[in-house]
Assembly symmetry: C2
Amino acid sequence: MRIYFAGATRDGREDVALYLELVELLRAYGTVLTEHVADEQLTSRGESMDDRAIHNRDLTWLKEADCLIAEVTTPSLGVGFEIGKATEWGLRVLCLFRPDSGRALSALIAGSDRVTVREYQDASQTKRIFDEFFAAR
Amino acid sequence: MRIYFAGATRDGREDVALYLELVELLRAYGTVLTEHVADEQLTSRGESMDDRAIHNRDLTWLKEADCLIAEVTTPSLGVGFEIGKATEWGLRVLCLFRPDSGRALSALIAGSDRVTVREYQDASQTKRIFDEFFAAR
């Protein structure tokens, strides 16, 4: 199982510690192609590679992936872009959202029948969500 | 010319007055399908329609559009999702970004060869950008 994990990078790093917990949990289900998203060294200025190289690398990984797992609480253009592509390419998509944030999830994500949305409060609740998602394949 | 204008709705309304200026300028080039994005009555809780109906309406409009014009300064999952779809569907895509915000634009947007990115400071500078974009067709 090749897993593409997505979370905000340039659009905000407030959830990076949580991303790391999620990536560590996801390793039990397959290979996480995008572990750098959870790297605390990665700032909101992003990576040192140029934009074209990052775009091409990420879309190559997304094309190779079996599923996209996205943490969608922090609004992010890049994560939305990846979900848009993944739903076109037929990947299974799981979006994790924390309603405690006070935010409302985009209707384009919440209203897509190609996306599974699960609400949670903290990482300890995601193992059950992941078990259910990966068992359904 | 059918124009799909995209800007943050649930993910933040700080730029709504600017969206209105952009929509008014865009009316000189064609029909703007998504004028509600610039409606100051629309709050960050979004519209009263259910998510599935909003998703289906917006994607129907996007499929019918000739181009997507997106204001991308406020990070937004919905806007990223629309850019992801539009680049798959072969629409022309123009993204407007204000570097004065202090933010860095997502590499997935900035690094896509299917997206034209133009930086600006305020709406008065966008007429020249729109003239150039629509003339290039």
